[in-house]
């Protein structure tokens, strides 16, 4: 191909690119010209097919390879303990919690990642309960305009401490959140996490299932 042919091809591609990249400008120019269009004295230029073509195009906010990193802090509200003998008061006051998580999107909705966090709560006996969970995080997210609604289930383990005693065991943490997309890099929102912590003991009467609700404010970095 000669240099002249290459230049012509490049020019044509640029024109197509400009057209595809800035349809609003093209449309705006056409719209603003329409009342004065001598070839269309009735002023019904809005019937042109060009605008309806673009309204049918939907671009997904997320796609495979997108990643988010979340930092959240807030309160941990004790709900109840239960075992096969009934429900029990937690004897724990509202505490503090925070966590970090990472999510990798496999498509516009589904993500997989990890999470690590921690919490502290005072007991009525003036002692302290510590929970340090970590685990894998499976997420599903849907988007409405600038609002994003990530749902997730974290499956992992939690190191738990009280006085000089400890327990290490399973944690399941379903969560729901709403985030507002501030800009392409950041979104901010509110998270609600249900912490389910079973403590299985050889003595069945000492087995307890702990339930807590985490309410946190979060910031998500998108990359």
């Amino acid at each position: 191909m000669s240099i002249r042919s290459r230049l012509l091809t490049l020019t044509a591609l640029c024109l197509i690119g400009v057209y595809l990249g800035f349809p609003g400008i093209v449309y705006a120019q056409e719209s603003s010209d329409t009342p004065q269009n001598e070839e269309n004295p009735n002023g019904n230029a809005s019937t042109l097919p060009i605008s309806s073509d673009w309204s049918k195009v939907k671009i997904a906010t997320y796609s495979k390879g997108d990643q988010t990193f979340v930092i959240a802090m807030g309160t941990l509200i004790p709900l109840f303990y239960y075992n096969n003998e009934g429900f029990y008061k937690t004897n724990v006051s509202v505490g503090g919690t925070g966590y970090l998580n990472y999510n990798y999107f496999f498509n516009s909705h589904v993500s997989l990642g990890g999470e690590v966090g921690g919490s502290f709560s005072a007991t009525i006996g003036r002692n302290m309960l510590y929970l340090v969970p970590f685990g894998l995080r499976l997420g599903y997210q849907f988007v409405l305009n600038r609002f994003e609604f990530p749902l997730a289930l974290t499956i992992g383990a939690a190191n738990q401490g009280y006085l000089d005693k400890g327990y290490f065991g399973l944690i399941l943490k379903p969560s729901a959140a709403v985030y507002w997309r501030f800009n392409p890099d950041w979104s901010f929102g509110l998270n609600a996490d249900w912490w389910w912590l079973p403590q299985w003991l050889s003595n069945p009467s000492q087995t307890m299932y702990g339930n807590f609700l985490g309410i946190t404010l979060g910031a998500r970095y998108h990359f």
Binding site: Y81, I124, G125, N127, L163, D164, S205, Q206, M208, G210
Partner: protein, 375 residues
């Protein structure tokens, strides 16, 4: 991916390996009770019962002297100024209430006060050459006081002879292994028994008969580190921070099988608890490897209120009879506190409430099926 999964499995295995101590945290927390603010705060002394005021009352000191009439605790009226660390009481015709005060910030200037009516206090004269007092105990009709000389090189045990202190036992050379502190004095079967830390248990039939006597056989091993003494019907029981319990009489003592464990040092708190025909010996203990495992243990006394040749020590609530309704509730309250003294009120107007003096957490009592600080 396979490698990642293997790494995750490895990390989980390591974490599980380090998490062998699986304790019922939520269960324990569910048994907690909200602690009250103690009316007798700090580190109260041992409790004693005395009727010098005309009515039976319990007395305890935590800087001030407090009294309990069966319903409320209040500071004893008319007590002199001073930082009162200990109280003791004697019975019989010369019944008196004693209080030991420390002047200034150190413990080298001490005064022993005596009251025969519960309101008027007089100083007990001390010209023995052992001016520093520490540890006072009423053994029936006689008050014994531990003492040191001015340069703390020698210790002695003094006794009150009509308002003047006299030397009962000593001198005892003080060293690292021999603190020489008087940690208990009781009377049983016509003999007085004195427990001196680092030395052993001494016996004599009169207060001025100890002289420079040797400790009773079986009590003088320095590993015992004696810190408590109590008299049962026909046995004297001594315990120590070495983790040993000894029992015997003026002839000899021996280690109590089943009650000696170096991992569980005794605090020196000893009491006899009764309920109907049930009788328990209570002993304050700590667990060497935990800050929060303290409280006291129970030993069932056989008929005649004496220790068997081999005993079983139970945590409160674990055996029967027992002093509490629920082990877990006890463990989440008094079970975490270091107990320095135990005492069950003798009945009558004072009731039969079980009291415990704690290290820095004030005076506690067992009421309404739970241990908590006395308000």
């Amino acid at each position: 991916m396979k490698r990642i999964l293997m790494n995750i499995a490895l990390a989980a295995s390591i974490l599980l390996l380090f998490s062998c101590n699986q304790s019922p945290l939520f269960y324990n927390i569910s048994k907690e009770t909200p602690p009250k603010d103690p009316v007798v705060a700090g580190t109260p002394s041992k409790l004693v019962e005395s009727s010098v005021s005309g009515a039976p009352k319990l007395y305890v000191a935590n800087g001030r002297v407090w009294e309990y009439d069966g319903s409320t605790w209040k500071q004893t009226a008319g007590q002199p100024s001073g930082d009162f660390k200990e109280v003791a009481a004697t019975t019989g015709t010369g019944a008196a209430l004693y209080a030991l005060s420390v002047e200034g910030t150190g413990s080298t200037s001490t005064k022993l006060w005596k009251s025969i009516d519960g309101t008027t206090w007089t100083l007990v004269t001390n010209n023995t050459g052992y001016p520093i007092l520490g540890g006072i105990f009423g053994a029936s009709d006689t008050l014994f006081a531990g003492a040191r000389n001015s340069d703390t090189s020698q210790a002695a045990v003094l006794y009150d002879h009509s308002g003047t202190l006299m030397t009962a036992l000593g001198p005892v050379a003080i060293s690292d292994a021999v603190p020489g502190t008087l940690v208990g004095a009781v009377q049983m079967g016509g003999n007085y028994y004195l427990a001196v830390s680092g030395k052993g248990v001494y016996a004599a039939d009169t207060a001025n008969d100890f002289g420079t006597a040797s400790p009773i056989y079986g009590t003088n091993d320095t590993k015992y580190k004696l810190n408590g003494l109590i008299a049962l019907n026909n046995q004297v029981v001594a315990v120590g921070s070495g983790g040993y319990m000894l029992a015997g009489n003026s002839d000899s003592f021996s280690e109590v099988s089943g009650a000696s464990d170096t991992s569980y040092p005794y605090t020196g708190a000893l009491a006899v608890w009764t309920s109907g025909t049930d009788t328990l010996l209570l002993a304050g203990r700590r667990y060497s490897y935990s800050t929060y495992t303290n409280g006291y243990w129970e030993v069932t006394l056989s008929s005649g209120d004496q220790l068997g040749t081999t005993v079983t020590m139970n945590k409160p609530g674990a055996g029967s009879p027992t002093t509490v309704a629920d082990t877990a509730t006890y463990e989440q309250s008094l079970g975490q506190k270091v107990i320095t003294a135990l005492y069950q009120a003798p009945g009558g107007a004072l009731g039969t409430t079980l009291f415990a003096s704690t290290l820095k957490d004030g005076l506690w009592a067992y009421r309404n099926n739970a241990w908590n600080a006395e308000e």
